[in-house]
């Protein structure tokens, strides 16, 4: 029998050390849907009603702006324009996503894709200087064991913090801790997030969300397919608003 030598021990240790630095021990790749109802039993959901959570932390100007929002008139997502993932954390139907875990990045392809778009979380990277604000900002991440710690800045100020129009500024800073867990025989991604924005919030707020891995395919859905219907609806809403203002 071959006795283990110092060389063999080194060889055995090297891949383990590399794996510890490169990411989790399980593969995250797959289609996940935001967990709801019974799927949340026993999970630590923080801030389940994101609208209420956010409203408690808004500065006065942001509260006023939120109150003046007319969903049918002002909601970008309503007419299939990009709306970003930040607000989608408040809706159980808007943050389904296909997670693709690679060596250098985690890509999340959200569903519906044409409004929530994509996200790339770059590992071992820094935020670029002179970042151009965008719908989903710029995300970098590093692994702490099996947990991916994500830092996102560079949001434009056209997204909302939740579905009812809570505004934010380009100073928004999102920190997320993501990990894959097993619960009641199912696989979930747990996201614990904190949002800071010194110009829009009185203090940071925290929430958690769970995404349950599915065994079916992410279907094709083109929001713009029905955009004519939505546009007509919005046109009527704007006309109704104008008529009400002139009375």
């Amino acid at each position: 029998m071959l006795k283990p030598s110092g060389v063999m021990i080194w060889i055995a240790l090297l891949p383990a050390a590399a794996a510890a630095q490169s990411g989790p021990s399980t593969d995250w790749t797959g289609y996940y849907m935001m967990a709801r109802g019974k799927d949340l039993a026993g999970l630590n959901v923080i801030g389940s009603n994101l609208g209420t959570t956010v409203a408690e932390h808004l500065q006065p100007w942001a509260k006023l702006k939120r109150e003046s929002i007319d969903g049918a008139v002002d909601d970008n997502g309503f007419i299939c324009k990009p709306a970003g993932f930040l607000r989608a954390y408040g809706s159980p139907f808007d943050t389904n996503g296909y997670f693709v875990l690679g060596r250098e990045r985690l890509t999340i392809i959200y569903w519906p894709t044409d409004t929530v778009l994509f996200r790339r979380i770059f590992f071992n990277a820094e935020h670029p200087r002179n970042l151009k604000p965008s719908w989903n900002g710029h995300s970098i991440g590093h692994w702490e064991g099996d947990t991916l710690v994500v830092d996102t800045i560079g949001f434009n100020d056209r997204t909302w913090l939740e579905g009812l129009g809570a505004p934010h500024t380009e100073d928004t800073h999102l920190t997320e801790r993501m990990r894959q867990i097993q619960h009641n025989g199912n696989t979930y991604i747990e996201v614990v997030a904190q949002v800071e924005d010194a110009r829009a919030l009185t203090s940071p707020y925290t929430f958690s969300r769970y995404y349950k891995k599915q065994n079916f395919e992410m279907e094709d859905y083109v929001c713009n397919d029905a955009v004519d219907f939505y546009k007509e609806w919005r046109k009527e809403a704007i006309e109704h608003k104008k008529a009400a203002a002139t009375k």
Binding site: V7, P82, F93, D114, F216, E217, D220, N224
Partner: protein, 240 residues
Amino acid sequence: MPRTLALSTVLAALSIASQLFGQAQSVASLGATPDLTGVYESIPGGTKLPGGFRNSGSPTEIQLTPSAREKMRTVNLKDDPWKQCKPVGQFRMMARDNTVMEILPAGSLIFIIFEDFTHGFMRKLYFNRGHEQRSMVASDPAIPVTKLIWFGDSIAHWEKDTLVIDAVDFNDRTWLNDSGAQHSEALHTVERIRPIRGGQFLEYKMTAEDPQALAKPYTYVRYFKKIDRELEDDNCIEEQ
């Protein structure tokens, strides 16, 4: 153990490990299919690549059936899906100059995501299943899954270094070219994608058949260059 001996043992271990890993990698790559991961941009027509590769064919050259010709004559060009910021389908999208796309393998499927997202949207190429095994489960009960979709149901497999994609179940809402040539729900496309020149370029061959719209199957070829950047936000509908 003397320090020099300990160091030499470590270096030897690293060297052997490096050789082992290197060997494992090269063995894997010998039998493996190509890794197409990356961002690519289509080469403009008329460009001749090293090795003599150049684009050939065009959606403008398709031959239509009499009924499809008649339909094209009466079409209103204002209804062009391109002008309405709607998906234009792969037959038209892949033929365009400077189409930028990301190829992203994701386990049992490959995503193709287009930078001009509104027109190209994204494709999902499924391995390990047939068309008849397509999932029809809705993510949102309010939005039913439809059998006929903008990009068809795309099934992929490898033939040596070539990715072969077979797509059926298209809706009939995309056009085959800028002139308003339309297709039917019987459209069937076969695409063959292979890396050339060490993966710097992709050769893309598209063949479309549709007995109701095309007098005969049509094939065009395009070349894509691998580019070193991320996809940017480019959303037609946002500009409306």
